[in-house]
C-alpha cells in the first residue's frame, strides 16, 4: 500500500493532489487483456515482403569482396540492398540535435566493427526465402585486430575502432576526449585524510530483452508517402532519422507507433525503420523488418558496460573529504547515446553527498562490441551502483553504521555542489529516516534529529579553496511575480568542464524574449556548449 508522509516538508507544499496518490487505470488496459492492443506487427498487408539482414560474423574485419549474385537469383528474392543503395549511409542518432559526428553506417561497406553489424539486406516473399538466399551470399573478410576492453582501447597502439573518432574516444566540442569535473583540491585532501579507500567497479552490458523484438513495417501509401508502423519508443527521433538516412523530406513519412511491447530504452535507436523504408521504396511493396530473438540479443543495443574507479578520502569522524572518480563507458563500435550517457554520469558525481573536493574524468570509449544505448537511467545507474557500494565500504572502514554514514555526508539545503550549484530541496536525510523507521533499523538520536534544512552551506560542506571558484556573472532581471525560488532562474556562472576555460565565444545577438520567458541567463550546457536556451 502506498503511504504518503505529508508531514515532512509540509510547509513547502500546496498539497491538494487530485491525481497523485489515486489509482488510475491504463488507457490501454482493456486492449491488453483482450489481446487487441495494436503492436506494430498487428497490421496485415497484401503482398507483404520480408527483409532480413546479413550480419558480420567478425568483431573487426575488412570486407574484401561480396558476391550476392546467387542470392539475388534465389527463389522468392525481390531485391538485394547494398551499402551503395543507402542514400545517406552515415549517421548518428543525436545528429538531430547537432551533437556528435555521423559515424554509423546503416550497411557496412568496407569495414565491419562489431559482430552482428549489418552488411546486406535481402527482401523476399517470405522470411524463409530471405534466409535461404542469405546462405548463398559469399563474403570474404580480412580479420583485423579487435579490442574489447575500455582501458586497452585507450592505450597507444590499440586498434582504432571508429574512423570518426580515431583515438577511440568521443570528442566533446571538437577537442575534449572526456568529461571533467573539478572541485577543490583532491590531492591535498587525500594527504589530510585519515583513510583512503580505492576500488574498481565493473558492470556487464545488459540486454533489455523486451518480449516484443524491434521491428517495423514500411508501406508505400497512395499519395507517394511511406507509412511506417514501428515498435519505436521515440517516434519523432525515428521519423527524422529515417528521413535523413533515406534523403527524404520528413513530410514524406507517416510514422504510426502502436503500443510498444517493452522498450526500456532498447527501442530508441531507430534500428529497423530506415532499411524497411528503403526496401519499400526499392520494391514498391510493403516490407516488414523484424528482428529475431537472436538478433535482438546480438545486434540490439544493450546498456553499455562501464568500468568505474572510485577513490575516497575519509575522516574518522565520518566525513568524506575527497572523492576521485575515473569512469569508462563502453560505447561499443558506434556512439548512439553513449556520448550523452557520459554527461549524465559526470553530472551525477559525486552522488547526493556534500564532498568538498571532487575530481572526475569520464570517458566514452569505442570498442569492437555491439554499440550501447539507453536503458533505464543509463549513465546514472552504474555510477550509482559504484558510489553506493563504495559508501558501504567507506562506512565499514571507519566502523560507522552505513545509513548514518550516508546521512552525515548527505547534501543539505545551501551546500555547494561540485557542479557549482547550490543544493536545494534536499531530502536524502528524511528518506533515510523513514526507511530506517520502516526497516526498524536503529538510528542514533542525533541522526533521528537531522534535517536537510539545517547545517547546509557551512564550512563542513564548503569549498576549501575559494580562489578556484569563478565569479558569478551579474544576475539577470528576475520577474518580480516569481514567488517561489526556482533553481533554473538563478544566475549561472559560465562553467567550463575543462580546467582551463575555453575562450568565451561571442555572445549571439539577443532576440527579444518571448512572452513568459523567465530569464535571460547565459548557460553552459555540456551538450550544446555556451549558447542561449
Amino acid at each position: 500500500m502506498l503511504e504518503f508522509r505529508k508531514d515532512i516538508f509540509a510547509d513547502e507544499r500546496d498539497d491538494h493532489l487530485q491525481e497523485i496518490g489515486q489509482p488510475t487505470q491504463r488507457q490501454d488496459m482493456l486492449g491488453h487483456v483482450t489481446g487487441t492492443s495494436r503492436y506494430y506487427d498487428d497490421h496485415r498487408f497484401a503482398n507483404l515482403l520480408h527483409l532480413k539482414v546479413l550480419r558480420s560474423p567478425h568483431a573487426h574485419a575488412r570486407i574484401r569482396s561480396i558476391d550476392d549474385s546467387a542470392a539475388a537469383r534465389a527463389p522468392g528474392v525481390k531485391r538485394i540492398i547494398r551499402a551503395a543503395d543507402v542514400p545517406v549511409n552515415l549517421n548518428t542518432l543525436l545528429s538531430l540535435m547537432q551533437f556528435g559526428k555521423d559515424d554509423e553506417p546503416s550497411l557496412a561497406s568496407d569495414v565491419v566493427r562489431y559482430k552482428g553489424e549489418p552488411i546486406l539486406g535481402i527482401v523476399a516473399t517470405s522470411e524463409r526465402a530471405a534466409l535461404e538466399a542469405m546462405a548463398l551470399v559469399r563474403i570474404s573478410y580480412d580479420p583485423l585486430p579487435a579490442v574489447f576492453d575500455v582501458e586497452e582501447a585507450l592505450k597507444p597502439g590499440a586498434p582504432s575502432v571508429n574512423p570518426a573518432y580515431p583515438k577511440n574516444t568521443f570528442e566533446y566540442h571538437g577537442k575534449y576526449d572526456h568529461q571533467k569535473l573539478r572541485f577543490g583540491d583532491v590531492d591535498a585532501a587525500f594527504a589530510q585524510a585519515d583513510i583512503v579507500l580505492e576500488d574498481r567497479y565493473q558492470m556487464s552490458p545488459i540486454e533489455h530483452a523486451p518480449t516484443e523484438t524491434n521491428g517495423s513495417i514500411a508501406v508505400p501509401d497512395t499519395n507517394g508517402r511511406i507509412v511506417v508502423y514501428t515498435s519505436t519508443q521515440a517516434l519523432f527521433f525515428s521519423l527524422d532519422t529515417a528521413a535523413k538516412i533515406n534523403a527524404l523530406p520528413s513530410n514524406q513519412l507517416h510514422f504510426i507507433g502502436g503500443t510498444v511491447g517493452g522498450g526500456f530504452g532498447g527501442k530508441v535507436d531507430t534500428m529497423t525503420e530506415p532499411l524497411a523504408i528503403l526496401a519499400a521504396r526499392l520494391t514498391g511493396a510493403p516490407v516488414r523488418y523484424r528482428l529475431s530473438r537472436h538478433e535482438e540479443m546480438q545486434f540490439g543495443s544493450p546498456r553499455g558496460a562501464e568500468r568505474i574507479y572510485i577513490k575516497d578520502g575519509i575522516m574518522r569522524d565520518g566525513r568524506i573529504i575527497a572523492r576521485q572518480v575515473r569512469a569508462y563507458f563502453d560505447s561499443g563500435a558506434y556512439t548512439r547515446l553513449s556520448s550523452y550517457a557520459v554527461i549524465k554520469c559526470a553530472g551525477h558525481i559525486p552522488g547526493p553527498y556534500s564532498i568538498p573536493n571532487v575530481y572526475a574524468d569520464v570517458y566514452c570509449v569505442y570498442t569492437n562490441r555491439t554499440p550501447a544505448t539507453a536503458m533505464r537511467g543509463f549513465g546514472v545507474t552504474a555510477i550509482d551502483f559504484a558510489i553506493e557500494c563504495q559508501m558501504d565500504k567507506d562506512a565499514v572502514a571507519i566502523g560507522m553504521d552505513p545509513l548514518e554514514f550516508r546521512m552525515l555526508n548527505a547534501y543539505r539545503d545551501g551546500d555547494m555542489k561540485a557542479h557549482r550549484r547550490e543544493a536545494k530541496n534536499c531530502a536524502l536525510i528524511e528518506c533515510a529516516q523513514v526507511a530506517a523507521e520502516k526497516a526498524q533499523w536503529p538510528l542514533r538520536d542525533e541522526f533521528r534529529r537531522m534535517s536537510s534544512r539545517q547545517g547546509g552551506g557551512s564550512a563542513r560542506a564548503g569549498v576549501t579553496d575559494r580562489s578556484r571558484m569563478p565569479t558569478p556573472a551579474a544576475p539577470p532581471r528576475v520577474p518580480a511575480s516569481t514567488a517561489q525560488r526556482a533553481a533554473y532562474e538563478r544566475p549561472m556562472p559560465a562553467v567550463s568542464p575543462a580546467v582551463t576555460p575555453p575562450p568565451a565565444p561571442p555572445i549571439p545577438p539577443q532576440p527579444s524574449a518571448p512572452a513568459g520567458s523567465s530569464h535571460g541567463a547565459r548557460r553552459f550546457s555540456s551538450v550544446f556548449g555556451t549558447r542561449r536556451r
Binding site: T34, G35, R44, H208, E212, G262
Partner: protein, 159 residues
C-alpha cells in the same frame, strides 16, 4: 505443396492451407488472422505465444500446425463472451497485471489452462502455471495476485 488442416478456434470451425513445417503461431496470425496471439522468440523459450490446445497449454511457435488438425484451440480472442469479460481479464485489469501488454495474451491462456483444471490453486500452483511465461515489466506479483483473485471470483460465481 500445402497441407489442408481443419480445427476449431475459440469454438468456430477454421480451415487453412499450410506450408510444410509451418508453425501454429504463424498460421494463426498470418493465415487465420487471429492477431491476439503474440510471438516473442519463435524458439519456445518465452511463452508469449501460449495457446490452449485440447485443454492443455502449448507453445504455438514450436507446434507444427498440421498436428493440430481436428483439435480445439483457444486463444485470448475467445476469452470474452460478447461484452462480458472473463474473470481473468477483469482480475488482470484490477490488479494492474499488465504494463506493455505483450506477454498478457500468453499469460492469460497459461492461467486459464490452470483454472480450467484446478479451480482452487495455491499460490505455488499459480507460480508453476506461469513459470513458462516471461514478463519483463510487472515483476510477476500483480499477475499472480490477479490469477488468485480470478480463482476466488470464479469459484464464487459458480453457483
Amino acid at each position: 505443396m500445402k497441407t489442408p488442416i481443419q480445427f476449431r478456434l475459440n469454438g468456430e470451425d477454421v480451415a487453412a492451407f499450410v506450408e510444410g513445417g509451418a508453425n501454429l503461431l504463424d498460421t494463426l496470425r498470418e493465415i487465420v488472422g487471429d492477431l491476439t496471439v503474440k510471438g516473442g522468440c519463435w524458439q519456445g523459450t518465452c511463452g508469449t505465444c501460449t495457446v490452449i490446445i485440447d485443454g492443455v497449454p502449448r507453445l504455438s511457435c514450436i507446434t507444427l500446425a498440421e498436428t493440430c488438425s481436428g483439435s480445439s484451440i483457444e486463444t485470448a480472442a475467445g476469452l470474452r463472451r460478447g461484452s462480458e469479460l472473463h474473470p481473468l481479464q477483469i482480475a488482470f485489469m484490477e490488479r494492474f497485471a499488465a504494463q506493455c501488454g505483450y506477454c498478457t495474451p500468453g499469460m492469460l491462456m497459461a492461467a486459464k489452462a490452470l483454472l480450467d483444471k484446478n479451480p482452487n490453486p495455491t499460490r505455488q500452483d499459480v507460480i508453476e502455471a506461469i513459470s513458462g511465461n516471461i514478463c519483463r515489466c510487472t515483476g510477476y506479483e500483480p499477475i499472480i495476485n490477479a490469477v488468485l483473485d480470478a480463482a476466488r471470483d470464479h469459484t464464487r460465481s459458480r453457483v
